[in-house]
Amino acid sequence: MAIRRVLAVASGGGHWVQLQRLRPALEGHEVAFVTTHQGYADEAAPYRFHVVNDASRSRKLGLVLLAFRMLAILVRERPHVIISTGAAPGYLALRIGRLFGSRTIWIDSIANVEEMSLAGRLARRYADVWLTQWPHLETPEGPRFVGSVL
């Protein structure tokens, strides 16, 4: 198995909890985590850990700042693979990471039961793999369903 550099990105709260439930799938690779609060550092250990500002669609300046911050992290980490369970930080990681040639994986939050999240819909064109955690949301044009974190 070739060891990959994997950047795993999730906002704090439910997005982070879901990403951590997938952690065994990352083991053995060179992993770095990105999230929106320093308090998650202990959970990220022993992997590298970056904190970014928590921006959302309604605060444009925050998003611009976040984009620059994400760019800096991507330049530093140069991941082969970027995986995210959302939300805005994940979208930006995928969008910018794609430019660097990273393989990009979006796993929409399990909270989005009736439709893909906004960030997920926006991330679609930058995602090599675009997943939902609900089988009834799967369509031939995407998203795909391969399981859930539950």
């Binding site: 709260g13 997938l22 959970e43 909270a111």
Partner: protein, 158 residues
């Protein structure tokens, strides 16, 4: 101890007020609340606006019941630690959240039989008043299923 949490992003005063009122009327002094970025000053709850992630897990672990907004973080923590949880969904028309996905989340997880749901304050008060806290609850595993982990690993290594 009962642990009330509204998540880190936004206040959820409608939920906090109901639980505060109930705690006062039922004479409970063992409710601890994480009330988010709120101006409220509950009378009958011990409260903090924010609880660090490590502390959050400890509060859930120490609780006999979790009352929460219908956020996935709260729900997953409760399920992982085998704690009964009652959720009340945030509503976008009340500016409690940007969209109404918590309604859908709450309904679906109630259907799966994993959580209790109160759609509004009236329902919540009524559920709290007839409260019978189960002594133990099934726990979900700490990680996703082996099948899901294998699929994700293949997608990473692919």
């Amino acid at each position: 101890m009962i642990f009330l949490t509204v998540g880190t992003q936004l206040p959820f005063d409608r939920l906090v007020r109901v639980v505060d009122e109930w705690a006062g009327k039922s004479g409970r002094d063992d409710v601890f609340a994480q009330i988010g970025p709120s101006q409220l000053q509950p009378k009958w709850l011990r409260y903090q606006t924010f609880v660090a992630p490590g502390e959050f897990a400890k509060h859930v672990a120490a609780a006999t019941l979790v009352i929460a907004h219908a956020g996935m973080g709260s729900i997953l923590y409760a399920l992982e630690l085998g704690k009964p949880i009652i959720v009340m969904p945030r509503r976008s028309e009340l500016n409690e959240q940007r969209n109404n996905h918590q309604l859908a989340t709450a309904r679906r997880f109630r259907e799966l039989g994993r959580i209790m749901v109160a759609m509004d304050e009236v329902e919540l008060l009524s559920q709290l008043q007839c409260l019978q806290i189960p002594s133990s609850m099934p726990r979900i595993g700490r990680f996703a299923t082996d099948e899901m982990l294998k699929s994700v690993r293949q997608l990473i290594e692919g």
